[in-house]
């Protein structure tokens, strides 16, 4: 459960609610997408000022002393507002810099992140790696005193405003082996790093990053040689946890909005909500949403006692359950709105798209079910 005290938590929740309701309306969001590709410097400044960027970092590093579960309230509200800022990406990447490596350049970077001046993201996924963060083919070959990186990362989120990237690379072992993976910190404008950025269908920014024999030194390596698997799994598990909370925020919003719409929209002389088939559909949307919210709450309450491998399993369970629930709720919200649900003008379609994107990111439900089976079978 949470590390922060109740007072701090409700203060954070109030502030993030105020922000989304006051400055991140659907129209504001549209404007932000157009003007800032959904990653506004002003908003990021607000995030820092409000302390949201400091939540899951130790106090001695300038953080609030919370843990990852303390960010779930923020993510849920961000879900309601369909916030496209790089919060999840930067938080989960920055946590890899802390606390073991808190010295020198890394410490400086982390300070900059908490104050909102700098951003770092984690490049993990590769073509065909699906949700498996240990399926690393990108090569780290010894070269003098350091390494040369070559290979490709895809679906890297939010690198647009980041100065640095953490990249997983393999110096030894087979394709999905735990041993032999390294984590390097490098500047996104380092020679040989080629970034192809693109907007995604949910308004977020993505990129594919190619590493063409990029030279890195040993000081850029976050762990002992070949021993980064634990950190990488941590980033993946924490990202999944945060994503699930965002999804719950979206799904609750869709249930609420769909119920409200069917009460006002009339066809055949009655409100749509009078049709029993639609009532049942909404009951199912509610059941899916509430079940996922309950599973998330339970997962969060068990998170801190769990060791890293158990956290990975908890996260996989959450994502495997999230997939079909998000798909059902998103699709039915559109369906029950009829034609208007298919438009760019109404927010419903945008919630649906974000849910679809969440479903596919970091491994879809099918992949996570397979991972769970492998755990049981092992």
């Amino acid at each position: 459960m949470s590390t922060l005290n109740q007072e701090t938590r409700s203060m954070l929740e109030d502030s993030v609610n105020r922000f989304v309701q006051g400055e991140y309306t659907f129209d504001d969001r549209k404007h932000n997408l157009k003007e800032h590709h959904g990653q506004s410097p002003d908003h990021w400044h607000t995030f820092a000022e409000m302390g949201w960027l400091s939540i899951p970092f130790p106090e001695e590093q300038g953080g609030l002393g919370g843990d990852i579960t303390d960010t779930l309230g923020v993510m849920k509200v961000f879900g309601r507002g369909m916030v496209t800022e790089p919060y999840l990406s930067v938080i989960t990447a920055a946590r890899l810099l802390s606390p073991a490596n808190y010295k020198g350049e890394v410490a400086e970077l982390l300070d900059g992140i908490l104050s909102g001046e700098r951003q770092v993201v984690f490049a993990s996924e590769e073509p065909g790696s699906r949700g498996n963060p240990l399926a690393v083919a990108l090569k780290a070959e010894p070269d003098g005193t350091g390494y040369r990186l070559s290979g490709e990362k895809i679906a890297v989120m939010h690198s647009l405003t980041a100065g640095h990237v953490l990249v997983s690379a393999r110096s030894a072992g087979g394709y999905t082996d735990e041993q032999g993976i390294d984590l390097f910190l490098l500047a996104l404008d380092a020679p040989g790093v080629e970034v192809t950025g693109y907007p995604m269908m949910d308004g977020h920014q993505g990129a594919n990053i190619t590493f063409n024999g990029v030279s890195v030194s040993k000081t850029q390596q976050l762990t002992g040689a070949g021993g980064a698997a634990a950190l990488i799994l941590q980033a993946s598990s924490e990202s999944l946890l945060m994503l699930a909370s965002e999804a719950v925020g979206i799904m609750e919003t869709l249930v609420r909005k769909t119920v409200a719409y069917t009460r006002t929209r009339k066809q055949f002389g009655v409100a749509l909500a009078e049709f029993q088939v639609l009532q049942h559909r909404m009951a199912d949307m509610y059941i899916e949403t509430t079940s996922l919210a309950n599973l998330l709450a339970q997962t969060a309450s068990r998170w801190l006692e769990a060791e890293a491998p158990q956290q990975a399993i908890l996260a996989s369970k959450l994502k495997a359950r999230l997939g079909p629930a998000a798909r059902y709720v998103g699709q039915q919200a559109v369906q029950l709105h009829g034609g208007i649900g298919m438009t760019d003008e109404l927010d419903i379609g945008h919630y649906f798209k974000r849910l679809t994107s969440i479903e596919l990111q970091l491994g879809n439900a099918e992949w996570h079910r397979k991972r769970l089976w492998r755990e049981i079978a092992a």
Binding site: M201, G339, M342, D344, F352, K370, R374
Partner: protein, 403 residues
């Protein structure tokens, strides 16, 4: 085609294949590849329509006397298989498969003479003006009015979701001509509007959730049309509307053939997409099971389509059967597009509107076959809404069962 085909049909297949190969240019094929909805890129699909017309092949299901091919069902199917194989776009349904058959069935000689040639030739494109903001599922509650004024009607009101109205030069329109008494289905007339450039008609495209304008709002202010624009009897347009809907729902094409093509695309992609554990998705039993289930749905759909193709339209059986095709075909394609994005995974999340535009020359990011998968998934959410939602189709089927 897997089973043996008679020599005659094989020759026919070869003839179709040769024709397509010699006549479908790169632009048309690009439009085929970049089609992400039931409505392919307009300019290129109309170009293809005109090329087919040159060969006499634009209306494969029309009777010969009206310029159709007179082909039997196996030939129609072969033609469509070859079209999908080559990757040419599917012709737009509104003119050929929807208003055309309605004009053939209900039109006066003069109306047939006037409208059918332009439809066949692909010189005219007809948009469907049925739905209104407050008359969607409850179509019969429509309010767009037409009042007689001498030898004209004067139209006032609005339509919405009118697909490709911004490309159309013609529109078929449901309007209220009768008074208030009686059932709402009474007093509706079916109009054939010839001139969409009338200043009283205002057409505004609506951007869809895939980021592309496909539907439109259409506003009518004092638009004068001649009395003979009415198809069927005045105030009895509902019969015409329903007859046309059977064609719309039952499909003027073989959905099964089209969907098979989508499944092929997915299988190819799965064959070169990693499963995250070092294998390929195509070797994964979960993928294989989903794939085969969908392939069977498509085979079954084809069987139903064959029955429907030889059924008299407007009969007591054909209505519910068209609803059944609507439900099963649209749910099949929705599930197929779900499988597609599940296979493609996160690379399908990139928004690539420029690369999707025919002639843009913009290279896709990532696998070219994956470019269209997310737009197709998003766009096809409409498949259970348009043409009468699937809830409405199930109501129709249930009603006929409980009658």
């Amino acid at each position: 085609m897997s089973t043996q085909e008679s020599a005659e049909l094989s020759r026919f297949r070869q003839q179709v294949r040769d024709f397509i190969e010699q006549n479908a240019d790169e632009e048309i094929l690009e439009a085929g590849r970049k089609t992400t909805s039931f409505f392919p890129p307009f300019d290129q699909v109309m170009k293809w329509h005109r090329i087919l017309h040159g060969q006499g092949w634009s209306a494969i299901r029309w009777p010969e006397e009206y310029g159709g091919t007179g082909w039997d069902v196996p030939r129609q199917l072969i033609f469509e298989e070859e079209c999908r194989r080559a990757g040419v776009p599917l012709l737009l349904p509104q003119s050929i498969a929807m208003v055309g058959p309605a004009i053939i069935h209900y039109g006066t000689e003069a109306q047939k003479k006037k409208h059918l040639p332009g439809i066949l030739a692909g010189e005219d494109f007809w948009a469907q003006g049925y739905s209104e903001p407050n008359a969607g599922s409850d179509l019969a509650s429509l309010k767009c009015r037409a009042d007689r004024d001498g030898d004209h009607y004067v139209i006032n009101g609005s339509k919405t979701w009118t697909t490709y109205a911004h490309h159309a030069n013609r529109m078929f329109l449901l309007v209220r001509t009768g008074g208030g008494a009686g059932k709402p289905q009474q007093g509706i007339s079916f109009f054939l509007i010839e001139d969409l450039s009338d200043p009283g008609i205002d057409i505004r495209p609506i951007i869809g959730l895939d980021g592309v304008p496909e539907q439109c709002d259409v506003f009518f202010t004092d638009v004068r049309v001649p009395l003979d624009c009415c198809l069927g009897e005045e105030n009895d347009g509902w019969s015409v509307a329903k007859y046309l809907l059977e064609h719309e729902r039952g499909g003027g094409t073989s959905f099964a053939t089209t969907f098979r093509h989508e499944l092929d695309l997915i299988r190819r992609l799965a064959g070169r997409t990693g499963d995250g554990f070092g294998g390929m998705l195509a070797d994964d039993p979960v993928f294989q099971d989903r794939y085969i289930r969908l392939a069977l749905e498509v085979d079954t759909l084809e069987a139903t389509e064959e029955v429907f193709a030889s059924m008299e339209k407007g009969s007591p059986q054909s209505g519910p059967m068209s609803s059944m095709i609507k439900v099963t075909s649209m749910e099949a394609i929705q599930r197929i597009t779900e499988l597609a994005i599940d296979v493609a995974g996160s690379p399908s999340l990139a928004l690539q509107l420029a690369a999707l535009t025919v002639g843009s020359g913009v290279e896709p990011i990532g696998d070219e076959d994956a470019l269209t998968l997310m737009p197709k998934y998003l766009n096809n959410r409409a498949a259970s809404i348009f043409g009468g939602s699937n809830e409405i189709q199930r109501n129709i089927i249930a009603k006929s069962l409980l009658r």
